[in-house]
């Protein structure tokens, strides 16, 4: 058990240590300072020239968002069409079929928004063409969209008074060439050398010891799995995701994949400090996020290591902890850690089946996705956290007797309105989506759809409720992990989560950037001793309190009826 814990601690500490210099490097890249990757300059110039982009054009927040949303729309159409016709396109050695319209709607959105909710299984639902040119492609660009967006926020925080939030295309291209490509290369090579397939050949056939013939899916997977984690995407090549022995062959790859997903979200926090010069502010954010993550991680690990109380009641010893739904090569400690970490940072890749985890883990995973700002996804984690900051600034500003200010700009009705709307939206999407599903499930169980609602859930009672809640929460948080007990591939879930995905992705990006743009264009107010310092631990604690209270108040009833009720019935 000690070795297991050591594995977790080493992973966590190592990745935090690596994130610091990476953050410094990222800040340099976006500031246009000299870095060792400058040899890529000609390549970037070529891309800009070819696309007719002026990377130096100044953009205000509206221009910035316009550029971002337009290109995302194009990607959606492109992905949707390719998925719809993949069966007839090349690079399909296994002769997999095309996706249904509702499934390809869901899949295209899901990957475009960095969620990677997969209502199909990778082995049979995609072809190598769509795996590479839709899924992997979108994994790169969606992660880069998030990073580019947060750099706009950095500009808003850095400048005293400006309407210029930087150039979307410039940040976007550089994120890919300078950050994701080099890092992916490293991770992919490690994976490939540890047994992850990198072949264009179709299914392999093996004969098991029992004499059965088994087809084993393969493909050029290593590269995709690298960006899947580095870009906090989470969509696996194989259906079993990182629990699959080819996707995550051993303990070393497990550690590498874990580190890969934590790396950039944490590095972005440090980048915030280096880029804006407000290092203390960044460190406070880092500690608040780390504390929040640990508060979620520890109970889950304790629960998984402790084993299932229901089994314990039967008088069965569980020296290895709760092993249902987990891989023997990872063990309960690392699986518990992974389960919460992947929800804390919006990756959503799994190395065990969350559906089988202890109710405590389910609670923590749900909470992690409801907050979605303790680290969070690439770039977007900080954007989500920023909304909490604005609300904390507003309330605490009043509490110290001054019109609230953030970074020298007065926070007024308009900014509060946007922040409140974004907060409201998460509650609306998660609770509303779950309510709609529960309503249909209860009142129209036998409606004449291809898949009747009665067939959605593999479990009844509290656990069934948690499955639905989890599916919607995962969609809203752009997480993509699934409580596998539910069948999501049907019209209702594909379409409903499709809308949740798209709203849950873009409004929480548009909101913070709009606020940052509005604030940055206001008159700069110099700090005085009466100004609340937003880089103090006190303010960090305030933000933390705001996050806890908002999350608790919004979701307590839903959690009580799902995982909490299950927890109390097991204990």
């Amino acid at each position: 058990m000690q070795t297991e814990l050591l594995g977790v601690i080493v992973t966590f500490v190592l990745v935090l240590l690596m994130a610091f210099p990476l953050g410094k490097y990222i800040a340099k890249v976006f500031q246009g300072e000299r870095t060792f990757t400058d040899f890529l300059n000609p390549l970037e110039r070529l891309i800009f020239k070819f696309s007719g982009i002026d990377p130096h054009r100044k953009m205000n927040w509206k221009d910035f968002l316009k550029a971002m949303l337009t290109i995302n729309l194009l990607w959606f159409v492109y992905a949707f069409v390719l998925l719809l016709f993949q069966g007839h396109l090349p690079l399909n050695p296994d002769h997999n079929p095309s996706q249904t319209p509702d499934l390809s709607f869901n899949t295209a959105i899901s990957f475009m928004v960095n969620c990677d909710l997969q209502d199909y299984s990778g082995e049979s639902g995609l072809t190598y063409l769509t795996q590479i040119f839709v899924v992997t492609f979108l994994q790169f660009v969606s992660a880069s969209t998030g990073v580019a967006a947060v750099v706009a926020l950095f500009n808003g925080i850095k400048e005293k008074s400006t309407s210029n939030l930087g150039n979307f295309w410039n940040y976007f291209v550089k994120t890919i060439t300078r950050i994701f490509l080099p890092l992916c290369l490293v991770v992919a090579i490690i994976l490939a050398f540890n047994g992850t397939p990198t072949s264009f050949a179709g299914k392999d056939t093996i004969i098991t010891m029992r004499g059965d013939t088994v087809n084993v899916s393969r493909g050029p997977a290593a590269g995709m799995i690298a960006i899947k984690h580095l870009g906090t995407n989470g969509g696996g090549w194989f259906n079993a995701n990182s629990a699959h022995p080819l996707e995550n062959p051993n303990y070393l790859t497990n550690m590498v994949e874990m580190m890969a997903q934590i790396l950039i979200p944490v590095a972005m926090i440090f980048a915030l400090g280096f880029y804006t010069g407000k290092k203390r502010f960044a460190y406070v954010i880092f500690w608040v996020m780390t504390l929040g993550a640990l508060i979620l991680i520890v109970p889950s690990m304790v629960a998984e290591i402790g084993g299932n109380p229901a089994i314990a009641k039967m008088g069965i010893a569980q020296p290895t902890g709760a092993m249902e739904g987990k891989e023997v090569r990872f063990g309960p400690a690392y699986s518990g850690f992974w389960g919460v970490m992947t929800t804390v940072i919006s990756t959503g890749s799994v190395n065990g089946m969350h559906d089988s985890y202890m109710p405590m883990s389910g609670t923590m995973q749900l909470l992690a996705m409801m907050v979605n700002g303790f680290y969070g996804g690439c770039g977007v984690g900080i954007l989500n956290y920023y909304i909490y900051i604005i609300i904390a600034v507003f309330i605490s500003g009043l509490m110290v007797g001054r019109t609230p200010e953030f970074m020298g700009h007065k926070v007024e009705a308009r900014e509060v309105k946007i922040a409140a709307l974004v907060t409201l939206l998460s509650t609306f999407l998660i609770k509303g989506g779950t309510a709609l599903a529960a309503y249909v499930f209860v009142h129209h169980p036998d409606v004449g759809w291809a898949m009747k609602p009665t067939a959605w859930l593999n479990n009844s009672g509290f656990h069934g409720f948690t499955e639905m809640l989890y599916q919607v929460t995962s969609s809203n948080a752009n997480n993509g992990s699934a409580y596998a007990g539910m069948t999501g591939n049907n019209v209702f879930w594909n379409v409903m989560t499709g809308f949740v995905l798209i709203l849950g992705r873009f409004l929480p990006i548009i909101g913070p950037i709009a606020i940052a743009g509005l604030l940055a264009s206001k008159k700069y107010v110099p700090q005085s001793t009466g100004t609340l310092k937003t880089d103090s631990l006190t303010f960090g604690a305030m933000t933390f309190a705001v996050i806890v209270i908002i999350t608790a108040l919004s979701y307590f009833p839903a959690l009580a009826l799902g995982p909490l009720a299950e927890y109390f019935s097991v204990h």
Partner: protein, 686 residues
């Protein structure tokens, strides 16, 4: 007429009127201004319908009549309590304003009659209410001034104690910066002719009363932003409650309408929602209690944000004028001889400085001789040209006192040398912030009188306090930079404007504002008016000119320049009260969840009993306790809302920690205790 400075929060007559208004304010037209309480009112109406329905029909899913009736009554009380909070705040403000207004009720006015635009010499006594803007009236010793106005002719001593509570009479005269008179004050001597500057019902006080009454009260920017935040919390809880229905269906639980509405009302921030407007009104009321009339609620709020205060030196930082503090005889001159000539030279000097010289001599045991009867004594008055004054005695003595260079000229013209020691003393005095007055007798330097500004006791502590609030103080003075610097250092102001001309104030304000700062200033003169208008908070003195009063956004009835400090604190208190009560209100919800959610589901999901950490007796007692707590917390916090949460200048972070501990942590714990106690009481009956 002593002004009513009653600080008791609930005096009987106020409560009566406020109770009546609590019901009148139930009108949806008024309620809709407050989205949070408006939704509670809707909930109350629905509950009324449910109560009636449950009386006529026996439907187990609706619950029994008495239970529904209790919920209805508690909800109604919640709304009424909130209305009462607002009404009592208004009533207090109005009572305060009324006591000021009483001073100007019907008094006889000596109106100067006119034909068209030509004023006659005829004076007729009319009731004060018949005066309109532009009329002239005369006021003589013993008269009460009938209406606010500006003196156009004459000078008078006036007792303003009815307005300011200050018993010492003040002088008001035509022209200049002290030409305003206020209705209700009394003329003690002389005769003045006054032009009425406001029509009845349009004075600043009338405007303020209208603000308090809510007719013209506009929400301030922070209030709007807070209302948005509260409205969005309300929306979140609407979502929480609406979605609970399908969740409950899934869990095969029926939740009664009463329970839904109770949950909703408990969750939405009714505490702050109910007290929000009372807090705003109380802020203006507190300003009024400090004898400051504000023209808008926004001005009070802005005061809390001030970064820079411009203060006139004289009267604010120093007491009145300079005083003689030392006599420094020139070498070879006896101190006694020096003092004698100094006193003689100052006998005819009516300036405060001149008088202070005689006072100092008196302290040193030198009695002033009487020269007034001697007809051959010639007084030489001060002139800007000679920059000296003096006296020529019949025995041929010519004594002069004045600025250093003026006297040095006299001395050198007489062929004498100016002693180097005296010159050194002059420089020393100037660099210590004093003003040297040099004295000569028959063309020979006699010595120097040192005049010093007397800094008000306790003023540097007040500036210290302001600095801790993050407010920078700037002293404005006509003194030379050297003197100004010395006094600035001694008084502890952060900056100064020396040799200030009226436009310097304006420029300084603009400069600070360009740097994003909010600036306040106080002024009384017409030449202050542009700067008063430019400043974010301009406080005009009530004794000041009409132009100054029009330009500023506050009027200080006490004419007290240090009032700005109080105004800043009132502004901060206003924001703090809002912020802390919001925090408290939202923190309360944690306990309410633990009371209501288990109560809703306990019958169908018994394991959720584990969430009933307060061990409330039954589901219905739990819900009732939560709703009752939610209602009574409003009246319990009214005193706090009206008095305001205390502001302590301990730095923003420390203040935040303090308020988070009290109102955040306290806000989480308090309802656990309160709900449990109420439940224990209810358990006796249920």
């Amino acid at each position: 007429m002593e002004r009513n400075k009653n600080n008791r929060l609930f005096s009987g007559d106020l409560v009566g009127g406020a109770l009546k208004h609590s019901f009148l304010k139930l009108s949806p037209k008024i309620m809709v201004r407050n989205p949070v309480m408006f939704t509670v009112e809707i909930g109350t109406v629905v509950m009324l319908a449910v109560t009636i329905y449950s009386y006529t029909v026996n439907d187990p899913t609706i619950g029994n009549f008495w239970y529904n009736l209790s919920i209805f009554i508690i909800l109604l009380l919640t709304v009424l309590f909130a209305n009462f909070a607002e009404a009592i705040a208004e009533a207090r403000g109005k009572a305060q304003a009324d006591s000021l207004r009483k001073t100007r009720e019907e008094t006889p006015a000596k109106k100067v009659m006119r034909v068209g635009d030509i004023f006659m010499n005829e004076v007729k006594v009319v009731p004060s209410s018949s005066l309109v803007k532009g009329d002239l009236f005369v006021a003589e010793a013993g008269d009460t001034i009938p209406m606010d106005g500006e003196i156009i002719e004459g000078l008078a001593t006036i007792d303003e104690s009815a307005i300011t509570g200050e018993s010492a009479p003040v002088i008001r005269e035509a022209g200049g910066d002290k030409s305003s008179v206020t209705g209700g004050t009394k003329v003690l001597s002389d005769r003045i002719k006054v032009k009425v500057t406001t029509s009845p019902g349009e004075s600043f006080l009338d405007k303020m009363i209208a603000l308090v009454e809510g007719a013209s009260r506009q929400k301030t920017p922070n209030e709007i932003a807070l209302t948005i935040l509260l409205a969005s919390f309300t929306l979140i809880f609407i979502i929480v409650c609406v979605t609970l229905k399908p969740y409950a269906d899934y869990a095969h639980t029926t939740i009664s309408i009463a329970a839904f509405i109770s949950l909703f009302v408990c969750l939405i921030p009714t505490t702050i929602g109910g007290l929000l407007s009372a807090i705003g009104i109380a802020g203006m009321d507190r300003a009024l209690r400090a004898n400051v009339i504000t023209k808008s609620g926004k001005a009070v709020e802005t005061a809390g944000d001030l970064d820079t205060l411009l203060l006139d030196k004289t009267g604010t930082i120093t007491i009145g004028n300079r005083k003689a503090t030392h006599f420094w005889p020139a070498p070879g001159i006896q101190e006694r001889t020096f003092i004698e000539s100094v006193v003689i030279a100052s006998l005819a000097d009516e300036t405060p400085e001149g008088k202070s010289i005689i006072e100092l001599a008196d302290v040193k045991g030198f009695k002033a001789p009487s020269l007034a009867t001697d007809k051959d004594v010639r007084f030489v008055p001060f002139s800007a040209e000679t920059r000296s004054s003096g006296i020529d005695l019949p025995n041929g003595m010519k004594i002069r006192k004045g600025a250093f260079d003026a006297i040095r000229n006299i001395v050198q013209k007489a062929g004498n040398a100016f002693p180097a020691e005296t010159e050194a003393k002059v420089k020393e005095i100037a660099s210590n912030g004093g003003t040297p007055l040099v004295v000569s007798l028959n063309g020979q330097a006699q010595g120097v009188i040192e005049l010093q500004d007397i800094i008000k006791p306790g003023i540097s502590e007040r500036f210290q306090r302001l600095r801790k609030m993050g407010v920078k103080t700037v002293m404005v003075t006509g003194d030379n930079p050297l003197t100004a610097k010395f006094i600035a250092e001694k008084a502890g102001v952060d900056d100064y404007i020396a040799e200030a001309k009226p436009e310097d104030k304006m420029n300084y304000i603009k400069k600070e504002q360009a740097g994003g700062k909010l600036v306040a200033m106080m002024g009384d003169g017409t030449n202050d008016a542009p700067a008063l208008a430019q400043a974010d908070v301009g406080v005009a003195m009530n004794s000041g000119t009409q132009a100054a009063k029009e330009a500023g956004n506050m009027v200080d009835l006490d004419n007290d320049p240090t009032k700005l400090i109080e105004i800043v604190e009132i502004g901060k208190q206003l924001l703090i009260t809002r912020g802390t009560l919001t925090t408290f209100s939202i923190a309360n919800d944690v306990a309410k969840y633990f009371a209501i959610v288990p109560a809703l589901f306990i019958t169908s999901i018994p394991t959720l009993q584990a969430l009933n950490i307060m061990h409330l007796k039954s589901p219905s007692s739990a819900i009732l306790s939560a709703v009752i707590f939610n209602a009574i917390i409003i009246p319990m916090l009214i005193p706090l809302a009206l008095r305001g949460v205390a502001y302590k200048p301990i730095g923003a972070s420390a203040l935040l920690r303090r308020n988070l501990m009290i109102y955040g942590i306290g806000g989480i714990i308090a309802p656990f205790i309160g709900i449990k106690l109420i439940d224990m009481v209810l358990a006796l009956f249920m």
